[in-house]
């Protein structure tokens, strides 16, 4: 079974530039998550999708972050404009369904450096 795919693996941009990350979840997984993991900390949920609808985006900085999940499969996360404090690893995860009792499968992450 193929795992969660993410691209790119690494990205370096200057502040005020924009960046986009892509995620392809495990086939058949209805729920998709985007997490932000700052160095030395645990992942923090940014947004959770159930199929192509948003379940929880309460911790997404909506003035600069946006995410979409077209057709309930792939997802993109965008930052525009980026700030220095956005430097982090962005993890995508998927699970069979939502509710928190299903195992989440994580991708390798995209390491973003904002200079």
């Amino acid at each position: 079974e193929a795992g969660v795919a993410q691209s790119p693996r690494y990205k370096i941009i200057e502040k005020r530039q924009s960046v986009a990350f892509w995620c392809n979840p495990i086939s058949g997984h209805a729920t998709l998550y985007w997490y932000q993991q700052i160095l030395g900390q645990g992942p923090k949920l940014l947004i959770q999708f159930q199929n192509n609808g948003v379940v929880d985006d309460s911790q997404l900085p909506k003035d600069r972050f946006s995410a979409e999940r077209l057709k309930g499969v792939d997802s993109t996360l965008k930052i525009q404009p980026a700030k220095l404090e956005d430097s982090a690893v962005y993890l995508c995860a998927s699970s069979l369904s939502s509710g928190g009792s299903y195992e989440q499968y994580f991708g390798p992450g995209t390491r973003l450096t904002v200079t």
Partner: protein, 111 residues
């Protein structure tokens, strides 16, 4: 504030020894999960324990949950160098659908 807090922040042991990591949380939970993260990789789910369970085993892993103390522990027996990683607890609140992760414990197993 973080729902889960791991203790210790870092742990270094010799191969063959047991490693114990603790997690404390603040609010009532539906379940508690432990994940492992190798350097530069995504997280891997290890074990889930529900609020009405007290202990679970999976291979060399043993997890306990004490809801009266709002705490959990992860025991890795007969540790191996390959167990070197960061370990995170994550809680699902009784009234929510979002997992909240702690800061993690960095485990180093020396050969």
């Amino acid at each position: 504030s973080q729902q889960g807090e791991e203790d210790p922040q870092a742990l270094s042991i010799q191969e063959g020894e047991n490693a114990t990591m603790n997690c404390s949380y603040k609010t009532s939970i539906n379940n508690l999960q432990w994940y492992r993260q190798n350097s530069g990789r995504g997280l891997v789910h290890l074990i889930l324990i529900r609020s009405n369970e007290r202990e679970k085993h999976s291979g060399r892993l043993r997890v306990t949950l004490d809801t009266s103390k709002k705490s959990s522990s992860l025991l890795i027996t007969a540790s191996r160098a390959a167990d070197t990683a960061s370990y995170f607890c994550a809680t699902l609140r009784a009234s929510g659908s979002r997992l909240t992760f702690g800061e993690g414990t960095q485990l180093t197993v020396n050969p």
